[in-house]
């Protein structure tokens, strides 16, 4: 491969393609969508909410369940649920259906009254507690002290509970989730519309014949792929910087974005040779693209096994999973190896189709 020729074709495409209104629209629409999501979903909700499970059916449990929401009402809006036993409450927290659970034994307030050390009050909280859950944990002792008519100082014996599963939506919040979804959309648009439009126009206008006379097929193909990847990188960076979302693990986020971009660019180049017309691609490419984008949004759905298979088998689903994990300090999904395998299969498949077509054309 001649790097000088590769650079020459790449430089031409970078400048020429962006002048094509179709390519420009395909790049700008998802960036605008990402910025729009960033604007309509605020960073923090004005009044955070939390769900608290109060375990026990005694009068003490009732008093705590009634008093706690009033005590924290300036900071939090509490939803109180009741549970009959500690095991049920622990499962509720693990399922992420409640932020915190408090076990109130019979006669606790009486036992806690007086000046001595109160017996510990058991509570369950997730390993990555939300600020609301943490706030409840901090405020609860003051309520208990007041109800027990004792000086402040009651202690909580807090036990962390490993979550069974956590939705991406809950982990990230709507704003970050939709901005990442917009980045997936952006990568899909560039990979499966902009990049193939660039190649299909060359095929349609037969300029590729002239290129293939002066350069190798592999050089032309690599240059087209690099154009798609460079546009993807720049557009993704603009979207993330413009929305200001926090990426806790940039390496993992980048791996997801790069893997998805390479995969859809490979697929898109294969599509260019199937359609062989920029206009046809601009019209019908969406029909193929839209079903491929849906899995990115399904990652937040706690759905059936079929949905999970679709998400895990598609590059957009896997890309979204890795990027969500990258935006958080710990994994919601995991499975980097499977994600990379899915990227290779989809992207490699598209490139193989294209390579075979180029070979049969004697290039």
């Amino acid at each position: 491969m001649n790097l000088q020729r590769l650079w020459t074709i790449l430089r031409k495409d970078l400048v020429d393609a962006i002048r094509d209104g179709r390519v420009l629209a395909v790049i700008l629409i998802p960036i605008a969508l990402g910025v729009f999501y960033g604007l309509i979903y605020p960073d923090e909700e004005p009044r955070p909410t939390a769900t608290v499970v109060v375990v026990g059916s005694s009068a003490d449990a009732d008093r705590i369940a009634t008093t706690l929401p009033r005590d924290v009402s300036r900071a939090l809006e509490l939803k109180i649920e009741r549970a009959s036993d500690a095991a049920e409450a622990k499962t509720t927290v693990a399922d992420d259906d409640a932020d915190i659970a408090v076990v109130v034994p019979d006669g606790y307030l009486a036992a806690a009254s007086g000046n001595g050390a109160p017996p510990p009050l058991q509570a369950f909280i997730g390993t990555q507690p939300s600020p609301s859950a943490q706030a409840v944990a901090n405020l609860l002792p003051a309520t208990v002290d007041r109800l027990a008519e004792r000086p402040p100082g009651s202690a909580l014996a807090v036990e962390t509970v490993e979550p069974v599963s956590q939705s991406a939506f809950d982990a990230l919040g709507m704003r970050t989730f939709f901005v990442i979804a917009a980045v997936v959309m952006l990568l899909g648009f560039i990979g499966m519309l902009a990049t193939p439009i660039i190649l299909a126009e060359e095929i349609e206008k037969r300029t590729i014949e002239a290129l293939l006379l002066a350069a190798r097929g592999s050089e032309v193909l690599t240059a087209k792929a690099l154009v798609g990847l460079i546009y993807s990188a720049v557009a993704s960076a603009i979207t993330i910087l413009a929305t200001g979302i926090t990426i806790e693990r940039p390496g993992l986020f980048l791996l997801g974005a790069a893997g998805l971009a390479i995969s859809v660019v490979g697929l898109g180049l294969g599509m260019a040779y199937l359609f062989r017309s920029a206009d046809k691609l601009n019209t019908w490419g969406w029909v193929l693209l839209m079903p491929l984008l849906i899995p990115a949004f399904l990652v937040s759905v706690d759905g059936s096994q079929v949905v999970d298979i679709i998400v895990q088998a598609t590059p957009t689903g896997q890309g979204m999973r890795l990027m969500v994990d990258g935006a958080l300090s710990s994994d919601v999904f995991g499975g980097v190896g499977l994600a990379l395998a899915v990227f290779v299969v989809w992207g490699g498949g598209g490139m193989l189709v294209l390579g075979r077509l180029l070979q049969t054309r004697g290039s």
């Binding site: 031409k12 300029t207 006379l213 002066a214 350069a215 004697g362």
Partner: protein
Amino acid sequence: MHDPPPAEHPTGVTPAVHVDGLLKRYGEVEAVRGISFSVPPGEVFGLLGHNGAGKTTTIRMLTGRTPPTGGTASVGGHDIVTAREQARSVLNLVFEDQNLYGRLTGRDNLKLFGDLYGAPADRTDELLERVGIADAAKRKVKTYSTGMKQRLLLARGLINDPQVLFLDEPTRGLDPVSARNLRGIVRELRDGGTTVVLTTHDMVEADELCDRVAFLSDGEIIALDTPRELKLRVEDGDRGPAHPHRRHARVLLADRSERTVALDDPEQAAELNRWISDGQILTVHSDEPSLADVFVALAGRSLDEDHQDETEAGR
């Protein structure tokens, strides 16, 4: 990797193009059926034939864009299969389609290919000047006329200073002035030692430009010679009832009357001499067969049939 040495012809001169038994098969269809010919350096060689005769497939093979099914061919002494990269470095092609980048300027179009071929930096401006579009160099190509685009295509074909230039229907769709200008440039190239291989439907153009022509019909070469020899070959044979005389001339006399004189009739030849002596002749035109007549005589079909087919297919 070292370049394989150019193949030398038995005559000692390396032919610019050498084709031996070249064959191309698409499934059951033989597009080119084992053709052979050789083009010496500096010659303008025409490949003529109807649509589907195998001209374009032959050019595709010679320019390394499709591999042959059988036979061998070399360009500039480099085998088109085993030394394809070397062969490509000494050839270029002016495509029939005006495949230029419309959003780029004329200069940028040319510079792109100059960079791909590693041409000197000043080659771009030199060629723009040479083909007469230097004034429009900074304009986007989509604003160019058909003639200007064709000139730019020719400049692109010359960007790597090729030993062999293939021209695929170079004047198709051009107005007469643009076509004449382009033919002038082809003559300059020949005078400068560039070998030109030309495919065309236009028999008048081929007659005017080509040193030798090959008639292709159904994938085979049915005749190959200079235009003059081909015409004489047919003239000496049976040209059919439309042309009962073998050699004759049309003479326009001073009284504006037109006479047809059989040159092999002693009495009419004497009369012609008398008109010359008396200064009565305004013009004399020979009535030799055209290359199109030759093609019809040899292929048994007219090139016009293809144009009619194309027109009907387009309806």
